[in-house]
Structures are given as C-alpha cells and as structure tokens.
C-alpha cells in the first residue's frame, strides 16, 4: 500500500467502474426530475408533464435542452470567477461521495478480486463525511459571489444547517461502526447478511435498521437536512428568500445546482442502503428467483453480481422515492425550529444512541 501499483488491466477496470458509476448517476438525474414532477403532480391530484415522450419521460431532456440554449448570463454585480466556480464546486463532491458505496459483493475472476465500488477505502465512511462536508463550499461561494442579500442569507443558513446536522449524522453512524466494527462500507454491507436472530425457521438478518432503529431515524433526518430537501430546504426558502443561494443563477449553471441536489439525494440514499438496509444483500423475491435459476460455477457468481446490483438499485430507488414523497408532504421548518431540533433533540438523541449501543453490545444483545 502507499504506492499506486497496478497493471494495465487493473487500471482499465478502475476507470471502467468510475465511468460506469458516473454515467449511471448522471442519467439518474433526469429520471429523478421526472419522478419528482410526476409524483408531486399525482399527490396534488394533477397529472404532471405527460406530453413529451411516453408518460412524459422525455420531458427532462426537453427541459435540459431549453436550459442549455438559454443565455449564460453573469450579472454585472457578481464576482464572476467564484460565481462560475460555485455550481461546479457543489456538483463535484456529489459525484465523489458515491465512489466508496459498494453495489455488489466482490467477485474473484482469474485470481483478481474485483470489488464493485470505485474505491475500496479502509476509511470509507470517514471519506464520505469528509467529502460531503465540502458540498457546503459551493453554496457558500454561490451566496457570497452573488453579492445579493437573499443569496448571502441563504448560504449562511445552509452552512449553519449543514454544520449542525453533520454532527448528529456522524454521531448516529458511530452506532453502526460499533456494531459492525468497521468503517469500510463493503465490510458493513457484507456483515449485514449475517443472521441476527431466528423467528422459528425465519432468519432475521442483521440489517442496520433492525439493530439501530434510533440511529437510522437520526441519520434519515440528518440526511434530509444535509441534502437541503424539504422539510429542511431553508437555504432556498422560496417564500422568504426568493430562491436563496441560487437566486442569481440561470440557464445551465442553475441546472448544475439542480443536478447536485439530485446527486446528493442519490448518494444519501446509497449510503442509507449500505449502512441500514443491507447494502447489496438480496431480499425475498430476488433471492427466490436467484435460487430458482440455479446457476453453478462462474455464471453463478456473475448472476449473483447482477442480482445484488439489482437489489441495491431497487433499495436506492425506494429511498429516492421516499425523498420525493416527504418533500411533497411536509412543510418547511422555521429557522429557529430547525436549529432547536438539530441541537436540542437530534444531538442528545444521537449521543444517547451511542451509549445505548455500547450497553447492548456489552450485554451481547447485538
């Protein structure tokens, strides 16, 4: 370790994985925009965009074409360099965080172990928190360089919100680290397949959500706050801050902010799945189909990878839908409520969760 030694095939596999993950993430954004718009419409007894393409699926493409061809306006009163840099700075961390999330168990092909995550770091979780904490720079920079009081207020709110909720997010994960005694996401996902208890013949797996329900709730709430989604979208606050930090942005620069928001959602979902919902562990109908197919040898391994990736994708999709669902259900917090909730409820609860987990591990319950 320490030296980047790899043969050509290793490099090819690494670059292939990186490119594949980025492509999937990018193409998930328009899909999520479509889900968001149709879902919100259906919840409000409307129909939503259904004209462009089948079921309106091409609508996001039409939107993005519109955004690309709009004038790329830089207002006269902004600090131009940082104004242009800010959207990119919020997009890059969103891509980077997904690098350590595993979407299938490693496979052994001709003496070479291929892990299905871009980078199998032994500080996986810490890496995610480190990179996620950088997302705030894009927002700060956007608010500051816009030279506009609403934008500045939005970015101030956003940064204080992110700092406050990052604490409880990090502390809630410590429970998971204690239980699985690893910060490597691949290990955490793998050990969630082990049996926890048996109800008759039914094996209850060691999924994080079952052994860390409180930690999961805290993490979920903090994830909503970190991604600036409703009910925590105070940085945007249409009613009082007009649009918050991206008030001065238009055309593709605004679209990049949108993309960053959706990518952050995807990463947060992937993280929640990996930590609390068994990662790539297969669940009932898929296990049944997989067993029924009855592959052996190498095809069995590849089929396993496909099924694990499928189950990971389904779980992530379910979480993404949950993000949309909550957004169109709950109203926004008031700012003092947000801060009170973060510091006086979430933080003590996450600390309590650590002590509780410690006690439970000591008594060998989990």
């Amino acid at each position: 370790m320490g030296k980047l030694t790899m043969d050509t095939l290793g490099w090819c596999i690494l670059i292939g994985k990186a490119v594949g993950v980025i492509l999937v993430l990018v193409s998930s954004v328009p899909l999520m925009v479509w889900v968001e718009r149709r879902g919100s419409a259906l919840m409000q007894n409307r129909l939503g965009p259904n004209r462009v393409g089948p079921l309106g699926l091409i609508q996001p493409l039409a939107d993005s074409i519109k955004l690309i061809f709009k004038e790329d306006l830089i207002p006269g009163h902004v600090t131009a360099f940082y104004f242009v840099l800010a959207p990119l700075l919020s997009l890059i961390p969103a891509f980077m965080t997904f690098a350590v999330i595993p979407f299938a168990a490693p496979i052994l092909v001709e003496g070479r172990t291929i892990s299905f995550q871009v980078a199998d770091l032994n500080v996986g979780l810490l890496y995610i928190f480190a990179i996620a904490s950088l997302g705030v720079y894009g927002i700060i920079m956007a608010g500051w360089s816009s030279n506009n009081k609403y934008s500045l207020l939005g970015s101030l709110r956003s940064s204080s919100q992110m700092i406050s909720y990052e604490l409880s997010m990090g502390l809630s994960v410590i429970g998971i680290i204690m239980v699985f005694s690893s910060v490597r996401l691949g290990d955490i996902a793998a050990s969630q397949g082990e049996a926890w208890i048996y109800l008759g013949s039914l094996m209850i797996p060691k999924w994080g959500v079952l052994i860390q329900p409180l930690g999961f709730l805290i993490f979920l709430t903090a994830a909503f706050a970190e991604t600036n989604r409703l009910p925590f979208d105070l940085p945007e606050g249409e009613s009082e801050l007009v649009a918050g930090y991206h008030l001065e942005y238009g055309s593709m620069k605004f679209a990049i902010f949108m993309m960053a928001e959706y990518l952050n959602m995807t990463t947060a979902s992937g993280l929640m799945v990996s930590l609390y919902f068994g990662g790539w562990q297969m669940f009932w109908p898929l296990t049944w189909i997989f067993d029924a197919l009855g592959f052996t040898g190498m095809p069995h391994e590849w089929a396993r990878v496909v099924f694990q990736t499928a189950s990971f994708t389904i779980k992530v999709a379910a979480f993404l839908w949950f993000f949309v669902w909550v957004r169109w259900t709950l109203p926004r917090f008031r700012y003092d409520q947000l801060m009170n909730f973060g510091w006086k409820v979430m933080l003590p609860l996450s600390l309590a969760n650590i002590f509780l987990t410690g006690a439970l591990i000591y008594w060998k319950v989990i």
């Binding site: 980047l4 500080v123 705030v136």
Partner: protein, 182 residues
C-alpha cells in the same frame, strides 16, 4: 506502474502555489478558498503516504469544518477591503518586515541543513499498519490503550474550552440586560 511520485509533485505543487496565493491575494475570501485547496493538497499527500485516516480527517476537520467557519466570519464581517497595505506603510515598518523575513529564512535553512532528517522512524511502517488491519484500527487501538491519558486530557481540555465559550456568550447577554435595565 508506479505513478505516485508524479502525484506527489502535483499535490506538492498545488500546496506551494496556493499557499503563496493565500498570502498574496488581497481579497480575504479568495485567500480563504486558496487555503482550502492547500488543505486538499495536504490530504492528497497523506493519502499517497497510505495514511488514509489522516487524509480524511484533514478534509473533514480543516476543510469541512474550520475553514467553513473562517469563511463564515469573513463573509459576515464583509472584510472586502484590505486593512493592511505594506506598500503605503511607514519605511521603518517595511525595513523591519524585510529583516524579519531574512532572519526567518536563515533560521529555516540552517535548521533544515543541521537537523538529521528523518528524525525519528516509529514502529508503524505502512506495511505493518496494513497487516494490523488498516490505520483506523491501529490508531484507535493506540489511542484507547497506550495514549488513553493524553487522549482523555485533550477531551477535557476541549470540553473546558466549550464550556468557557458558552459562559462568555452567556455573560455578555446578561451584561447587556443589565445595561438596558439601568
């Protein structure tokens, strides 16, 4: 195919270039953002050395938390205009600055020449750390066994600082209330 030296020079170059920018940029916000990039470059060098934990903590603590607060303060104070301009200051001050710089430069070169580098090589080479289960595990085991006392003392120090900050904030509030009452 070992390409880590080229990565080292890349990160080191970034670190040096942006450290200079931190000093020479007149806009304080620009300086702060340059400092963030310097932290990043350092994290990259740590990662090249195999110290992934330190790299992650470097970004998490310095770039992700401390610098955010710095930028926060700079933005709130709106310190756009530099309050200190050496070019317009008194000639004595300029002379003093130059002499100090020369002395410091001389000291550093002397120290670098005289001191036997590498000074100390601990028992934790990257290979041994990997064998013991990665540097997160090794570090935490050391922290909670051999270095438990310094670790706990540091925690108490930080707790004290936290309580002190809260106390100062509270006292100011009370003082304001008193002034308003009189």
């Amino acid at each position: 195919m070992d390409i880590s030296p080229s990565f080292f020079y890349l990160f080191a170059g970034f670190a040096v270039a942006f450290s200079l920018l931190v000093v020479f940029k007149k806009n304080p916000v620009a300086s702060a953002f340059s400092l963030v990039i310097v932290f990043f470059a350092f994290a990259g060098i740590y990662a090249l050395l195999g110290a992934h934990l330190i790299a992650a903590l470097q970004i998490l603590v310095y770039a992700g938390a401390i610098m955010v607060l710095f930028v926060f303060v700079i933005m709130l104070l709106n310190a756009d205009t530099p309050s200190f301009d050496l070019g317009r200051s008194h000639w004595g001050l300029r002379l003093a600055a130059m002499i100090l710089c020369l002395v410091a430069f001389g000291l550093f070169t002397w120290a670098l020449k005289e001191s036997p580098l590498p000074i100390f090589r601990g028992p934790f080479s990257p290979e041994q750390v990997d064998a013991a289960g990665g540097n997160t595990q090794v570090l935490s085991e050391l922290m909670f066994s051999e270095y438990i006392l310094p670790f706990e003392l540091t925690s108490i120090l930080l707790l004290g600082a936290m309580i002190g900050a809260v106390a100062i904030a509270k006292r100011k509030e009370a003082g304001n209330a008193n002034r308003n009452a009189h």
